[in-house]
């Protein structure tokens, strides 16, 4: 009685969840449809153009012309390479710097550790927008404006990264294991790469994805630092495309789709680590 009652009461829950899932997915579906339609079909149909094909859709009217134009007439291919380069380098370097920094704070006792930990904790509450103007001035002084170095260097030492790795290593890296490796005559760098890194692998995957996403979706940074259109990543290029060709809807949706698809694929590959990393500290701590 109780069990069947419960099963029955799940129906409205499925309905509500499906409604919200549909609302979440509709913009994506609309974007894909718009990217595959010609300008004429865009104005005459909401989703796919009607026709005589299966499901009453004119499948033969769908076209990849928008994508072809993006790569031949606009610098979207170049922007995509820029985004891949910038995001990969940023996430790899940030992960290395933060993992090593977190290791030092979590597993060594040394003079200045308390001060350093305090500085990292304090920096967690500094809003990034406060640093925009002074960082711009610093990059100008260092001659790093309009260069990838000026975009990457400020992004690879986030305080929250060191904090996350410190928290992860406090519990999951036993001190005895490190001591045992030292007694065996293992060098410190080798200990880090062969003992510590494997233990915190989920955290490394999560953090790499978080920083990759952050770099990929960063808009204000490249907008301020970069000046040459050739160097623009997708975030800036797609916004400029919309500014210049605002009425070419299919073209813009194709570009947006191309900008979103890579991170979606990456997320599908790494989703377990990603979600575990997001909520670590917040829920357990």
């Amino acid at each position: 009685m109780h069990a069947s009652n419960r099963r029955f009461s799940l129906l409205p829950i499925y309905l509500t969840l499906s409604l919200f899932a549909a609302l979440t997915l509709l913009p994506f579906a609309w974007m894909v449809a718009a990217a595959l339609k010609s300008q004429d079909d865009f104005f005459t149909s909401i989703f796919l153009p009607p026709g005589s094909g299966p499901f009453g859709v004119g499948w033969e009217r769908l076209t990849l012309a928008n994508f072809a134009r993006l790569f031949t007439e606009f610098p979207v291919g170049r922007a995509m390479l820029n985004s891949i380069f910038f995001s990969t380098v940023t996430s790899a370097l940030a992960t290395a710097a933060c993992a090593m920094g977190g290791y030092a704070l979590a597993k060594f006792s040394f003079k200045g550790r308390a001060l350093l930990t305090g500085a990292v904790l304090g920096a967690l509450i500094v809003p990034t927008s406060l640093l925009i103007a002074p960082t711009y001035k610093l990059l100008w002084q260092l001659g790093l404006l309009n260069s990838y170095a000026g975009l990457i260097l400020p992004a690879i030492a986030p305080a929250f990264g060191v904090f996350l790795f410190r928290q992860a290593m406090l519990n999951s890296v036993p001190r005895e294991l490190l001591e045992a490796a030292r007694i065996d005559g293992c060098g410190e760098l080798r200990i880090f790469f062969t003992v510590v890194v494997p233990l915190i692998r989920p955290m490394i995957g999560a953090f790499m994805l978080i920083t990759f996403l952050g770099a990929w979706n960063n808009f204000i940074g490249p907008q301020i630092v970069l000046q040459d259109a050739e160097a623009f990543p997708l975030s800036v290029a797609i916004n400029n495309l919309r500014g210049l060709h605002g009425t070419d809807y299919g073209l813009i949706m194709a570009g947006t789709l191309l900008s979103i698809a890579p991170v979606m694929c990456l997320f599908l590959l790494l989703q377990k680590e990603f979600i575990a990393g997001l909520t670590s500290g917040a829920v357990k701590g």
Binding site: R7, L10, Y14, L17, A21, L23, T24, L25, L26, P27, F28, W30, I46, A97, M100, G101, A104, L105, F108, F110, K111, R113, L116, V120, A123, V126, S129, L130, L131, I132, A133, P134, T135, Y136, L138, W140, L153, P154, A157, A159, F192, N217, I224, S235, I238, N239, R242, G243, Y249, I252, G255, T256, I260, V263, M264, F267, I275, T279, A282, V283
Partner: protein, 293 residues
């Protein structure tokens, strides 16, 4: 003796890359921004010391107050809508016996992967008069809906809230879902035996257990919402919109710093914003502490 030596320089070696970059690109700019905030600048090259005039000017700068008002209204609306939607989705997904949980979780989370700029571009088209999905969809469901409804021109705040709810509801949901999994089954069953209804169970058992995560997520949402920039910037075609109705604090900071070229005034705005956020964080820890005792 050797072991001692090893111990002293090894941690510095490991933290060196972070330390150098953190000092250069976080600590130094932070100190610099203090200096900049008492200067008037014309691009990064020419600066004039003007004392606290920037801060005095902020206090009677109508544009700053408009930006702060817009940002505060947006934050209030966004936090209320996002938190309640996220919590509702998490509660629904947490029902025992539910199938397809990971599918729904994936679907709801997907928009969080899309950057604010791309959400802005996507919603610019979704909000289009006549051809956009939102107007044409609403018109198809409710024939009385005006397909020429001007979302981004006349209803800036509603447009921003709609787009940001789509983007963030699934993100906060992940936190709530993780917290709900820690709520003890025994307590829920005990409440069930005591004859508590669904609402009673939520109010007396679930809510107290997830309160720390709830206040953490609320703080994160407040901090994030207060720094809103890209979404209105892109939605309103690289501007603050008609009559500056979409002007936010960070957008104003960007405009004064990089379009006008006054990095000094931009830094002062940054400090005022930082102060507001620190106060929000202090209020949150204060509230959290009061609840514990």
């Amino acid at each position: 003796m050797r072991a001692f030596d090893r111990r002293t320089w090894i941690p510095w070696m490991f933290s060196a890359p972070f330390l150098v970059l953190f000092a250069t690109f976080t600590v130094w700019p932070l100190l610099q921004s203090l200096l900049l905030s008492v200067q008037q600048t014309f691009g990064p090259k020419r600066t004039v010391f003007i004392g606290l005039s920037n801060f005095a000017f902020i206090l009677r700068d109508p544009l700053f107050w408009q930006a702060l008002g817009n940002t505060a209204i947006y934050t209030l609306g966004a936090v209320c809508i996002q938190i309640s939607t996220s919590l509702m989705l998490a509660l629904l997904l947490n029902r025992p016996g539910l199938r397809g949980r990971s599918f729904f979780r994936l679907v709801f989370f997907a928009p969080s992967l899309v950057g604010l700029v791309f959400v802005g571009v996507l919603f610019t088209l979704l909000f289009q008069k006549r051809t956009g999905l939102i107007n044409s969809g609403l018109h198809a469901i409710i024939p009385a809906w005006d397909p020429e409804f001007a979302w981004t021109d006349n209803h800036v705040m509603a447009s921003l809230l709609l787009a940001s709810t789509w983007l963030y509801a699934g993100f906060n949901m992940i936190y709530f879902l993780a917290a709900l999994q820690n709520v003890s089954r025994e307590q829920l069953e005990a409440a069930d035996l005591d004859g508590a209804g669904a609402w009673g169970r939520f109010w007396h058992v679930v809510l107290p257990e997830i309160r720390p995560v709830l206040s953490f997520v609320t703080l994160l949402s407040v901090i994030g919402s207060f720094q809103l920039f890209e979404l209105p910037w892109v939605l309103l075609n690289n501007s603050a919109g008609p009559a500056n109705r979409g002007l936010t604090v960070v957008m104003y900071l960007y405009q004064t710093g990089f379009l006008v070229g006054d990095l000094g005034y931009a830094s002062a705005i940054g400090w005022v914003l930082g102060l507001i956020l620190v106060l929000a964080a202090l209020a949150q820890t204060r509230l959290a502490r009061n609840e514990e005792t």
